[in-house]
């Protein structure tokens, strides 16, 4: 009785797992098919494996550039937000400065107001005015929201570190910045890693922001933008193999990251429910 129940459980879980994975396997396997095979149909596995799709997309359709842009965009965006979260969280945990409650209220208010893609427009105007949308290194800037939910995450973490370490450093004459940079920030590494990873994935998957900011400047497109744009390539249905290869290039990096750092990422995602 118990045996059968557990067997049923496994069968159910495996079926659900397979259903979940099929679309991902479909993209990865299709990216190795020739266009002819894709158009004429067949099994999930390619009859003949070809790497030409990747070569063509990477070299001729500028995906090497898009890949580079995606990396730069995600690293700068996630890095800046993580660093600012750490700084703000440290100050909030250690200093009762005048204006703290007002700032907390503002952060909470912003978190609960959802204007959606509208907020992109004024930021685009700023970016154009300041010339930030001309280079991939400056393009992420108007997306750096500064302080958000990360504030409370870091604040709680710094509080849990205890004040004693700081006080010892004060005795040694270390200033505020030195204490943050040399003592607190290194201790925050676990939470910073998790937060950075989650932000990185989010920025990597971001579509609307790079789409809007890169309009009129094709050299700034990221992978997500490049993939969708392939639909409008001259001959439409004729290039499905390239579309699949492009899609594979855009999903493999996050997939690998997720598989390698699974524990860290899952742990971070799970905090979303408790924090809320």
């Amino acid at each position: 009785m118990k045996r059968t129940r557990s067997a049923i459980r496994y069968v159910f879980l495996i079926a659900a797992g397979v259903l979940t994975l099929i679309p991902i396997a479909y993209v990865l396997l299709s990216s190795f098919k020739t266009n002819q095979e894709l158009i004429s149909g067949g099994s999930l596995l390619p009859r003949t494996w070809t790497f030409d799709n990747f070569r063509e997309v990477w070299q001729e359709l500028n995906f090497s550039r898009y890949f580079y842009n995606s990396v730069v965009f995600s690293v700068i965006g996630a890095g800046a937000v993580a660093l600012m979260g750490a700084m703000a969280g440290y100050v909030f945990a250690r200093t009762d400065f005048p204006g703290k409650r007002l700032l907390t209220a503002a952060v909470l208010a912003v978190m609960f107001i959802s204007l959606g893609p509208m907020t992109l427009y004024p930021r685009l105007e700023l970016a154009v005015e300041w010339g930030l949308n001309r280079h991939i290194y400056t393009m992420p800037i108007v997306g750096i929201y500064g302080i958000g939910a990360s504030l409370f995450l870091y604040e709680g973490f710094v509080r849990s570190l205890g004040k004693e370490i700081d006080e010892a450093a004060v005795m040694d004459g270390a200033g505020y910045f030195r204490r943050f940079w040399r003592i607190a920030f290194p201790l925050m590494t676990p939470i910073t890693t998790t937060f950075f990873l989650l932000e990185f994935i989010q920025e990597w998957n971001n579509y609307v922001f790079p789409l809007v900011l890169s309009s009129g400047n094709p050299e700034l497109k990221t992978l997500t933008v490049g993939v969708v744009e392939m639909r409008n390539m001259g001959d439409g249905a004729a290039a499905w193999n390239l579309l699949m290869a492009g899609s594979a290039i855009s999903i493999v990096p996050v997939l690998v990251l997720f598989l390698l750092l699974n524990r860290k990422i899952v742990e971070g995602l799970a905090q979303g429910a408790v924090k809320g």
Binding site: R9, L13, A16, G17, T20, P23, I24, L38, I39, G41, A80, M84, M87, A88, T95, F97, L103, A106, V110, I113, S114, L115, G116, P117, M118, T119, L120, Y121, P122, L126, I144, Y145, G146, I147, Y176, F177, I201, W204, Y207, L211, V212, L223, T224, V227, R231, W240, S247, I251, V254, L255, F258, L259, N262, I265, V266, L269, A270, G272, A273, G276
Partner: protein
């Protein structure tokens, strides 16, 4: 002087985060509120128009229809949450390979949604799409289905994709909730001879309390402020069938049309944000009872 010595470094350290927060989080909000009352074409013309934008919104049938679509889209949680909860229940017991299953179910969540929407777009293609091919081969249909050319199938396709991407995160949240319930409670229920369903109904669900309240909030509000896959999958078509409110907002600003009144776009966004804010407050009022821990 003393004040500066005391708080100077703290303010200095906050300078960069607060500057970014003010410029890229707060300024867009204030911008939106201002332009509710303006006509603005993005270039030269900017003039005060009072409540004109608002009254245009009141009689904008496309907007009200988009709200309806957004609400329909939120019904997605009726598929997503039961699946997520069931899987969480199955994984909650010590299962060999539990971590592997957990990772598999979460995988769609970390992938770029627009890429997956693009892939679905190809799959649903009536001529060479593999889904139609499969359905034809299995004899489910006798001619290709024009999934994205018919309103309700296009809408359901988007719901399916979004549910596939998001059930995993909800499963994870449910797992967190379930593991917050002490084991002893289950044990005493088993001694009392409670059936599996009874245990779920009178222990698992109510005792998750606050976490359940948050899961429901995050998934409902999350869909109510999401474009979903429709920007890439259908761009709102056919004939506005998949144009939900947040896609409508996007189109107000970035549709590529010539003369646009961004003031009106701001009005649509602000009004919608107020509706959602009211809904959030209402939600927490109504579900206060759940938070009894």
């Amino acid at each position: 002087m003393k004040f500066f010595a005391k708080f100077g470094p703290a303010y200095l350290m906050l300078l960069l985060p607060v500057a970014c927060f003010a410029l890229f989080s707060v300024y867009p909000l204030l911008w939106a509120v201002k332009y509710v009352f303006y006509y603005y074409d993005g270039l030269f013309t900017e003039r005060f128009t009072g409540w004109t934008n608002m009254s245009r919104l009141m009689s904008d049938e496309l907007y009200w229809q988009s709200l309806w679509k957004q609400g329909l889209f939120a019904l997605k949680v009726l598929i997503e949450l039961p699946v997520a909860f069931l899987l969480a229940l199955l994984l909650h017991r010590q299962t060999r390979g539990g971590n592997v299953f957990r990772a598999v179910f979460l995988m769609p969540y970390i992938l770029p949604g627009t890429t997956m929407a693009m892939v679905l777009y190809l799959l649903l293609n009536p001529y060479n799409g593999d889904l139609n091919r499969l359905l034809l081969a299995l004899g489910v249909v006798d001619q290709p289905v024009q999934f994205l050319a018919v309103g309700w199938t296009a809408f359901l396709s988007g719901i399916g994709l979004d549910a596939w991407q998001n059930f995993g995160i909800n499963m994870l949240f449910f797992l967190v909730g379930l593991s917050s319930i002490p084991k002893e409670v289950y044990e005493s229920a088993a001694i009392d001879g409670a059936s599996g369903w009874q245990t779920v109904r009178s222990i698992s669900l109510p005792m998750m309390g606050r976490i359940l309240q948050i899961i429901l909030f995050l998934s409902i509000l999350g869909t109510l402020k999401s474009i979903g896959p429709y920007l890439v999958l259908t761009n709102g078509g056919p004939n506005y069938a998949t144009e939900n409110t947040f896609l409508y907002i996007f189109h107000q600003f970035f549709s590529g049309a010539g003369s646009v009144n961004y003031g009106y776009g701001a009005t649509v966004a602000v009004f919608t944000a107020i509706l959602l804010l009211a809904l959030s407050v209402g939600y927490f009022r109504l579900t206060k009872r759940m938070d009894y821990h």
